[in-house]
């Protein structure tokens, strides 16, 4: 399972990818930031389309592992998170550092582009907004998320 409501920790992820042949291990953690657009954020709440998020994460990990001959571990937390909490973690292990860094970068970028996860920001001024929804939480056509995204890149619908 790639989604979890539990705290995300690197240790267990490292254990799943470490092996004697892996000389380079790259880790990325995406943590909850206390500001956005110059405003103070007090917490985030993540939600997901669970079955599709799981299948898309598996696809992304598979792509990275076949492209760079590496092992990848990935966890994304769902639910209410506090400032500083790890929201997502990627660990990529390979023979050498170049492929580990490349695979790690690929996975986090593709997660952000393709996995159906949403976050709601709770601001210190009491307002609550969906990230990516535009001003005042309004949705408009033509935003990044309204593009059709595939592993070959982005194509307009």
């Amino acid at each position: 399972m790639y989604l979890t409501t539990d705290p995300v920790e690197l240790g267990p992820l490292l254990q799943t990818v470490q092996s004697p042949g892996h000389g380079g291990i790259a880790c990325f953690i995406g943590a909850v930031r206390d500001h956005h657009g110059g405003r103070s954020v007090i917490r985030l709440e993540y939600s997901a389309y669970g079955p599709m998020a799981e299948s898309e994460c598996a696809r992304i990990v598979g792509e990275a592992e076949s492209q760079w001959t590496c092992r990848v571990a990935l966890k994304h937390r769902i639910g209410r998170l506090a400032i500083g909490d790890a929201a997502v973690a990627v660990v990529a292990a390979s023979s050498h550092r170049e492929s580990a860094f490349d695979a790690c970068r690929y996975v986090i970028e593709e997660v952000k582009r393709r996995v159906p996860i949403w976050k709601q920001e709770y601001f210190a001024d009491g307002t609550v907004e969906w990230v990516g929804a535009g001003e005042a939480g309004r949705f408009a056509g033509g935003e990044p998320g309204s593009e059709l995204v595939t592993n070959q890149g982005i194509s307009e619908q």
Binding site: H76, V111, W118, E143, S146
Partner: protein, 88 residues
């Protein structure tokens, strides 16, 4: 004379995040005249309260895979209407 019954299909529609808030709905079934596409389902959603605020071409997934709005629907399909993604 025999009458020709209009064929219909029933699809499940899931809405998430801000879109679920717009329509105050996160899981529903739509009965559509066949043949129908994702665009037809979106038109039906726009006729519901709050639905007119959906964007012209929202990101959609059909049976867990992203799909363009001209994709044909069949009975039993699961259509998800996805707001701009914001994981990570």
């Amino acid at each position: 004379m025999p009458t020709t019954a209009t064929a219909t299909i029933t699809v499940r529609v899931l809405l998430f995040a801000g879109y679920a808030e717009l329509l105050e709905l996160d899981d529903t079934e739509l009965v559509l005249q066949s043949p129908a596409t994702i665009a037809d389902a979106l038109d039906r959603l726009r006729s519901l309260p709050g639905g007119q605020r959906l964007p012209p071409k929202p990101l959609c997934a059909l049976n867990l895979s992203q799909a363009p709005v001209n994709t044909p629907l069949k009975a039993g399909d699961e259509l998800a209407v996805l707001p701009p993604l914001a994981g990570g």
